[in-house]
């Protein structure tokens, strides 16, 4: 109690303080901790099953990661903005089915197409797939902004509608073989870890990461999730921004739809079923708070890697594949519990 005036006002040097704070943040950041967890998991699984440490396993993990990281990134934007998007899994199925149906029935393609025509067909398919996702995202935004339905229910209903529609359009069976198989398999990360499909995914995720953390759209996403009232008072058009966020999530699910199509060589109505849970798991493992306003994209990217590392690792050490969903559920619960514990620890 020597000098009470010091308490609120004076800080030694804001610049030095900021540098120190940043250095501390970098060491204890969610991303570094998650990378540590990932490395430990890889070591543990390799000890339990030496074959785990292989290009084939890495390729498998990356293949699954590619589709889920897309919807997880969309989900991260949505959850940081204070909402949730349950429709993304169903949109993967619907957009893949509609793309396959368009290529087969509108463009009249089959597996005899080669070269240029096959390329064109695939590009049209990709555009249709992203377009379908975008449309569902816009419907979500309409339900949320205009009809004032809470995001959970709004996206639950579009999830149901998308699942139903994809079965109606495909008549319940995968629509396949509309492309040159050699072409689409050259895209598939299954055969080539650094495939064009995976490169597209990495580029998209990187660009969106820059936008979330360095650009105005990202700032507004955090602001709305942190305090929507304050965001509105600051003059942010909250409804318009949320429209953008849900449209992004939908479009990314559409992109994941064509990714999965390329991987399967067919548009299957069930190809995305339940995937929204994987996305939510990746997001919360990555340190995004379900309450909104908190989380960083590098964490989500690593969170998705952890999710699939655990899933493939368990399968390789002999755990029944049917246990996968249970594992995902446990990971979600553990990640959220860890967030709560960190918070009550006085750190946010």
């Amino acid at each position: 109690m020597t000098d009470s005036s010091q308490a609120i006002s004076v800080t030694p040097s804001p610049a030095a303080e900021a540098r120190k704070a940043r250095a501390f943040d970098a060491l204890t950041s969610q991303s570094s901790l998650l990378l540590g967890v990932l490395v430990i998991l890889i070591i543990v699984f390799t000890i339990l099953e030496p074959k785990f440490f292989s290009v084939a396993t890495a390729s498998n993990i990356l293949t699954d990661w590619g589709s889920i990281v897309l919807i997880a990134v969309g989900q991260a934007f949505v959850i940081i903005s204070g909402g949730i998007d349950l429709s993304v899994g169903a949109v993967i199925g619907l957009s893949g089915v509609v793309a396959a149906w368009t290529m087969a029935n509108v463009l009249g393609l089959d597996q005899t197409v080669k070269g240029q025509d096959a390329w064109g067909g695939l590009l049209v398919g990709a555009a249709v797939s992203v377009g379908v996702g975008l449309l569902v995202g816009l419907i979500n935004a309409f339900l949320i902004n205009v009809l004032k339905i809470v995001p959970f229910i709004a996206t639950l209903s579009t999830m149901g509608a998308a699942l139903g529609l994809s079965v109606v359009i495909s008549q319940g069976a995968p629509i396949g073989s509309a492309n040159d198989f050699a072409l689409i398999s050259s895209f598939s990360p299954q055969w080539n870890p650094l495939s064009p499909a995976l490169v597209v995914v990495i580029v998209v995720v990187t660009v969106l990461g820059l936008y979330l953390h360095k650009a105005r759209v990202g700032l507004y996403t955090y602001a709305i999730g942190s305090n929507a009232f304050a965001a509105r008072a600051a003059g942010i058009n909250v409804a318009r921004h949320l429209t953008w966020v849900y449209a992004l999530s939908g479009a990314l699910a559409g992109l994941a739809g064509i990714y999965v199509y390329i991987r399967l060589g067919a548009g299957s109505p069930s190809s995305g079923t339940g995937r929204e849970l994987d996305a939510i798991a990746a997001v919360v493992i990555g340190g995004v708070s379900l309450m909104g306003g908190i989380g960083r994209l590098p964490g989500v990217v690593i969170g998705a890697l952890i999710l699939f590392t655990v899933q493939s690792g368990l399968i390789m050490i002999g755990v029944e594949p049917d246990w996968k969903k249970v594992v995902v559920a446990v990971l979600i619960a553990a990640a959220v519990a860890a967030q709560v514990l960190r918070k009550s620890d006085g750190r946010s």
């Binding site: 105005r216 602001a223 305090n227 008072a233 946010s348």
Partner: protein
């Protein structure tokens, strides 16, 4: 305080359905003047604030800013015309940093192509945030810290600093000293003095009458949706102010309340 009238409400009424929240309120605010707005709960203070800040449109009456009549379609329009409002509940986003909050809605973009692509000039905003707050007499820890890491008093200081540094004409402060300790409230009152010195018109709404008596030039008392008293602060004593608020001063004889 100058003699220039900066913001004026003429005979403003506001009804919500059949409920008359505000009846015939007229208010004149000069540049460099601090006007206290007091009244019991339900007296119409927040209705008047919402009308003045553009959040609600009056049922009748008109508003003039710098002698020009305005009809606010939204708080944004009032904001753009130079009227800043600090609402009772925190108008800060706790997860954003001090500088992000200070610049929210008015970000500085990166120069050149990056700015056109939507990228922000973070470092520049952090530096300017620090300077802006210092200018209005608020020194907070590094402006790159999240607001949630600050104490309640510091948060309020940032919120007010934000409003004062952006306001061009009028600043409306709704209960800014609520929940603050004595010293922190003192800091807030100093910021109000800084805003006054800057030539802003300040409307200060508070239940804490000593603060109102300390910092205002004039006090407007609302009761049951009407302005019942509008006089220089020097004409009030703590007792006469309470009497004006509760209504025991005029018509009615002393009640047992």
């Amino acid at each position: 305080m100058t003699n220039t009238v900066i913001y004026e409400a003429h005979d403003v009424s506001k009804s919500y359905g059949s409920v008359k929240a505000l009846t015939g309120a007229s208010l004149r605010l000069h540049a460099g003047e601090v006007v206290g707005l007091v009244g019991d709960n339900g007296a119409g203070k927040s209705t008047l604030v919402k009308v003045l800040s553009g959040a609600h449109q009056p049922t009748s009456g008109r508003l003039e800013l710098d002698g020009v009549e305005h009809v606010w379609g939204s708080p944004r329009e009032a904001l753009e015309a130079g009227i800043e409002t600090l609402y009772q509940d925190s108008s800060l986003a706790p997860h954003l940093t001090v500088s992000q909050n200070l610049f929210l809605g008015r970000e500085v973009m990166s120069p050149g192509i990056l700015g056109k692509l939507g990228f922000l000039a973070r470092r520049r905003m952090e530096k300017e945030a620090h300077d802006d707050l210092e200018r209005v007499g608020i020194a907070v820890p590094a402006s790159s810290r999240p607001v949630s890491a600050l104490s309640g008093g510091q948060r309020q200081a940032v919120a007010i600093g934000r409003a004062v540094s952006w306001a061009r004409k009028v600043i409306i402060l709704d209960e800014p000293t609520n929940h603050l300790g004595a010293r922190q409230a003192g800091e807030v009152l100093n910021v109000i003095r800084a805003a006054k010195a800057k030539g802003l018109g300040v409307i200060f709404i508070s239940h804490t009458l000593p603060h109102v008596l300390e910092v205002t030039d004039r006090i407007v008392v609302l009761r049951l949706g009407r302005i019942v008293r509008d006089a220089p602060t020097s004409e009030f004593t703590p007792d006469s102010l309470i009497a004006a608020i509760t209504g025991s001063a005029d018509s009615e004889p002393t009640t047992d309340a």
